[in-house]
């Protein structure tokens, strides 16, 4: 493979790269000029389609193809940029916003021109406070310089970009949850179809794309689809920002060709597993994607290869490394807690399922586990999500995958944990045993005994030392 030349990160170490002046001095907005002044919108769509750029937000859907789903006879198009970035361990969009806001704006400009959108909403998670300020400033600068606003470059094309801040809900990253939230409602994902391209925000044809996806667009326009396809692995082309965090020496965000392996990321870019330990497992692309075991760290992190080890996909390419001192149950406790907290509550299987898994996993953690819990959870996990078709959105699949993968790959350890961590207090009570065995129990007597203890307190208690006399 030819040496890889980073493009998404190329300005990151340049002083003042955030300013329009520096961005322009490094060739910034030239692609936008090229697209707007020399190309037809459909020609731009075709270049992006030919590049086979796949969405970087999680699902990996081909970007150019999605743009062609917009109705031909539409009067208006809206662009919604997904900057909710809430998948645990993911922070590449934040780097793009904070370090090169104009590259992102140029991506928006070209993409809006291609899809004929004259309004773009950037839905930004509230926690990106600094990124919000940086973006506000960049939009101001771009507008003053004529890269945004009316009649851009004298072409008659108009574009307004508005920042819209979220309020701390993971589910607003799901594209239709985002749209509902933008409309001022609770972020409840919609049933699809209709897909946003047909009926999206404010019931108008809407394009939803991730920040990193749009940041690739100016480079594709500048260098062409073939250049883009010369990077990466089959069906997964182009550069990608990978983040590595958790049990590594250096937690980083790096740009590499799609298809790098977890081991390369750990050893070559993150300074190895921390404290000289070994990796026990790694999360390949945000916790929704499942888990790789230590033997699977050489699987290429691209859109296709992760299915083989049973993961859901590449997700957000956010790698979290778990060292060999960490019990897998701790990982499950964390993922189950997350999804139970973030389920929007619309679909019963997801709302109840995530809550129930959370309780079961906490019970196991606290020493009340039963071996059969693993199979019961697996059964639930297999029936949860859009893949089995029981929920509206993919959050539930994300909740199921950590369980599926952990039980498949670490069953021995989990069973061992259940066996060796029993606490006496967590065992069944005599009443439960009676009920389980089908013995007759007199609930009235039991209920009365609990409600009103009739026996006087033992004498010793009244005269115990230190007790003030009545």
């Amino acid at each position: 493979m030819a040496t890889f030349e980073p493009v998404l990160t190329r300005n990151w170490n340049v002083p003042d790269a955030r300013t329009l002046k520096v961005y322009e001095s490094r060739g910034g907005y030239q692609s936008a000029r090229k697209a707007l002044t020399t190309m037809d919108p459909d020609a731009v769509v075709n270049v992006v389609k030919d590049s086979e750029l796949r969405g970087r937000g999680g699902a990996g859907f081909p970007c150019g193809l999605k743009w062609t789903f917009l109705p031909k006879d539409r009067k208006e198009t809206l662009m919604c940029v997904n900057g909710d970035e809430s998948e645990p361990a993911t922070f590449n969009n934040r780097y793009l916003l904070e370090r090169d806001p104009h590259m992102f704006l140029e991506g928006i400009l070209i993409s809006c021109f291609a899809t004929r959108a004259s309004t773009a909403y950037v839905y930004l998670r509230f926690e990106y406070i600094n990124a919000y300020k940086i973006m506000e400033q960049a939009i101001e600068e771009a507008r003053a310089a004529g890269h945004l606003g009316k009649n851009i470059y004298g072409t008659g094309f108009n574009l307004d970009v508005w920042l819209h801040r979220g309020a701390g809900a993971y589910i607003c990253g799901e594209e239709t949850g985002l749209i509902e939230s933008l409309e001022g409602k609770r972020g409840w994902p919609r049933i699809k179809p209709p897909f946003p391209a047909i009926e999206g925000a404010f019931r108008k044809p809407t394009v939803v794309n991730n920040i990193e996806t749009l940041c690739c667009v100016p480079h594709i326009i500048e260098r062409g689809a073939n250049w883009f396809k010369s990077i990466g692995t089959p069906k997964s082309y182009g550069p990608k920002l990978y983040t590595v965090s958790g049990h590594v020496e250096k937690q980083v965000c790096v740009e590499l060709p799609l298809g790098v392996t977890t081991r390369q990321l750990i050893d070559d870019h993150a300074g190895g597993v921390w404290k000289g330990r070994k990796a026990k497992a790694a999360v390949p692309g945000g916790i929704s994607m499942g888990l790789l075991s230590a033997d699977e760290l050489d699987v290429p992190l691209d859109f296709e290869s992760l299915r083989k080890p049973g993961c859901l996909g590449l997700g957000t390419a956010a790698v979290t490394v778990i060292d060999d001192h960490t019990p897998i149950i701790d990982y499950l406790v964390n993922t189950a807690r997350f999804f139970a907290h973030e389920s929007c509550g619309q679909c019963t299987p997801c709302r109840e399922g995530t809550g129930w898994m959370n309780k079961t996993i906490h019970r196991i953690k606290n020493g009340g586990g039963r071996i059969e819990d693993l199979d019961v959870m697996l059964h639930l996990a297999n029936n949860l999500g859009i893949i089995p078709g029981t929920t509206i959105c993919g959050l539930a699949d994300g909740a199921a995958w950590p369980i599926k993968n952990a039980v498949a790959k670490f069953r021995g350890e989990l069973e061992e944990y259940i066996r060796t961590h029993q606490t006496p207090g967590a065992g069944p009570t005599p009443l439960q045993l009676d009920i389980a065995a089908g013995r007759k129990v007199d609930l009235v007597t039991i209920g009365n005994a609990i409600a009103a203890p009739t026996a006087p307190p033992p004498a010793a208690a009244l005269h115990s030392p230190g007790r003030p006399s009545a």
Binding site: A89, T90, I129, N130, S245, T320
Partner: protein, 179 residues
């Protein structure tokens, strides 16, 4: 002599000031519907009052020409808007995977113990509110915390949490909103 009846019912004092209302209405042209201004309006009120009391919801609803219940429905979905004022600085301690693996849960406990409060509560002097958060998107700092004026902390250890709390007690670093 009978007490004189009040000539008119006592006037309710509006929570949304005129400049704040103007700021909210200035956003209408950005969206095809007024309702879309719900979240921005809630953020503005929250920034102004450090909470969104029920009366403010009704006043927002009036501006946006929707029912107060619709504003409440949206507001209550997001865990973000408290109805009673929070501290001068709100700090989120992350408990998601990368932070948890590096001790995030224990650090949240440590922070709360040091301030003698529970997660979600405010110190009695009204200076700091500590909350847990799911991934804050600053995992390169894991275990990490974020103050609501934008300050990022991490990688933290117990001493780091102590230093962070001492710094936060001194107040916010951003400009107070001029409304």
């Amino acid at each position: 002599m009978p007490a004189e009846a009040p000539s008119r019912p006592p006037q309710k004092i509006a929570i949304l000031t005129e400049p704040l209302k103007e700021k909210i209405c200035a956003l209408f042209p950005r969206y095809p519907s007024k309702r879309a201004v719900t979240l921005p309006a809630l953020h503005m009120v929250h920034e102004h009052l450090r909470c969104v009391p029920i009366q403010a919801m009704a006043e927002i609803a009036e501006l946006l020409e929707i029912s107060p219940a619709e504003v409440h429905d949206t507001m209550s979905f997001y865990g973000f808007f408290p109805q009673a004022p929070i501290g001068d600085v709100r700090v989120w301690v992350c408990r998601s995977i990368s932070c948890m693996l590096r001790g995030g849960d224990e650090l949240l406990e440590h922070a709360c113990k040091r301030l003698s409060i529970h997660p979600g509560e405010t110190t009695p002097d009204g200076k700091i509110t500590v909350e847990f958060a799911e991934c804050l998107g600053i995992c390169d700092h894991a275990p990490a915390a974020l103050a609501d004026d934008g300050r990022v902390y991490g990688p933290l250890d117990e001493a780091g949490v102590d230093a962070m709390l001492d710094e936060l007690k001194k107040g916010r670093k951003d400009e107070a909103p001029h409304i």
